[in-house]
């Protein structure tokens, strides 16, 4: 865990309002794990004041990638940066997915910007495990399949792939999936994660999700990011330190 300034070496617009930043950051690249995140200071001024958390999207040698969309002021400022600009990074933070357990097929389930951590997951799993990716969004514009393999898409309006939610899509494939030894990795908006949890509990599937919530520090000193634990009602878990990845059965979503 350290603070470092890394230069942008490339900025791409992947699709409507989806940006990909490539940064030269050997320090982060050499230690970060899939679904760990970085807390980024987008401005050296007090506006915006707090850092913004982003998953590391991918790692390539000494380079790391971020994938994001313009949501509010912070991401707007980030999207305005260009090659050569330095990005103030605090990281790596959080725990990351457990990719090496005993399963054969990794089932990726992502909604909207929840796709962000999966290019790195895909790269790391490559060759070791089979991968099936279910990617959803409101419309085709919000379906982000960058860096993924074996992709099935879903959209609320049917403009990309299956018409409906990504969990409904998953559900439509349940028979096929149940034939395999799978583990689900999920990331996306809370309602999606809720549906995913229900689905996995119902079908008795192992599932880890990367949770999202408001954060100030990102490393455990502000207590700003509680998530209710299913195992201990006396104490919240912290998304930044105990997560962002949780076994769905361990947290109340």
């Amino acid at each position: 865990m350290f603070i470092i300034e890394s230069p942008i070496v490339e900025k791409k617009i992947l699709q409507d309002n989806v940006f990909l930043l490539k940064m030269h950051s050997p320090e982060i690249a050499s230690v970060i794990k899939p679904a760990q995140f970085l807390n980024i200071r987008v401005s050296s001024e007090s506006y915006p004041l707090l850092r913004r958390p982003f998953s590391v999207c991918d790692v390539e040698g000494e380079h790391i990638y971020l994938l994001f969309n313009i949501f509010g002021e912070g991401t707007r400022i980030l999207a305005g940066k260009s090659s050569g600009d330095l990005i103030d990074i605090l990281g790596p933070l959080g725990n990351g997915f457990n990719l090496n357990d005993d399963y054969e097929t990794a089932v990726i389930v992502a909604g909207g910007l929840g796709s962000a951590p999966f290019p790195f997951v895909t790269r790391e799993l490559n060759d070791n495990k089979e991968i099936i990716s279910f990617i959803g969004g409101r419309t085709s514009k919000d379906v982000i399949t960058y860096g993924m393999k074996n992709v099935f898409t879903a959209s609320d309006d049917g403009s990309s792939g299956f018409k409906g939610s990504v969990v409904e899509l998953l559900n439509s494939k349940i028979e096929e999936l149940q034939k395999k030894n799978i583990k689900v990795f999920g990331c996306g908006p809370t309602p999606m994660l809720k549906a995913l949890k229900e689905f996995c509990v119902k079908h008795n599937i192992v599932c880890e999700v990367s949770a999202e919530c408001a954060m100030a520090c990102g490393f455990g000193i502000c207590q700003g990011c509680p998530i209710e634990s299913t195992n201990n009602s006396e104490k919240y878990l912290l998304v930044c330190n105990d997560g962002p990845v949780f076994n769905v059965r361990d947290v109340v979503i």
């Binding site: 865990m1 350290f2 603070i3 200071r41 007090s46 506006y47 915006p48 004041l49 707090l50 850092r51 605090l90 919530c213 408001a214 954060m215 100030a216 520090c217 990102g218 490393f219 455990g220 000193i221 502000c222 207590q223 700003g224 990011c225 509680p226 998530i227 209710e228 006396e234 104490k235 919240y236």
Partner: protein, 307 residues
Amino acid sequence: MSKVDLSVKIGDLFLRNPIMLASGTVGYGSEISEFTDLNTIGGIVTKSLSLKPRKGNPPQRIAETPAGMLNAIGLANVGVEEFIKSKIPFLKKFDVPLICNIAASSVEEYVECTKILTSEETIKAFEINVSCPNVKEGGLQFGNDVKAVGKVTEKVRVATSKPIIIKLSPNVSYISEFAEVVKKEGGDAVSAINTLVGTTFDINTRKPKIFNINGGLSGPAIKPIALAKVLEISRKVDIPVIGTGGIMNWKDVIEFMIVGSSAVQIGTLNFIDPTAPGKIVKELVDYCLQKGITKISDLTSSYLIDE
């Protein structure tokens, strides 16, 4: 030996420099120690401790505002026992004054916490948080009631011989009245300020962004208010003041000392740049060398006001 004497005294509490880490913004020290060498800072104040562990408020606990942030953590903490068992051993490894911040729901609880903790040698002083929105007596918040603050000070004074710092609420008309009563009841110093009551709503859902509805406002937005409160106290009451509120850099530290602070606390900044406290200490040395200041404590209340 450095040519600049950065040390400050707050009553009987001796700090090697005026930079303290504020309660609730560094947990119990372990995470921040990865960024700032605790041996180089003036003092560390724990997250508010209560007699029993507290779970704190449900999410969402924080929200950003212009040049500030709101928090309603709800005093989530491990409780005094667990603190002694699992947190003090870590903090013992450092040569840094440990100040225990205590929050309670009654005068008795303040006293009991203090009694339990005072025998811990590592603890060098107590900061009594009377300014937390969750602590009420007779419907009134402790911190907004001069009599209640006097009573807490009086009773805690009896419970320990270690220095007592009372952390004052800014949500009052005349903060110096509170500093006055603290002095009268034997308190050694005051911290000013805790957060200001604020809120923010989501215009789409029409719900408060923070579960608790109100939160405490901190960060640079409140700096002018904090400075005015410190100045008010330092002009009216002869008691050491620890200045807190919106410090972002060494210049802010100097400004707080000029208006009357003997030491300062860094809060929200720790979330943004946890290396800042260590850096600021170094920058203070540079500043003093450049200005020919040999004792930094000379800056305290060095304001020039024409009258």
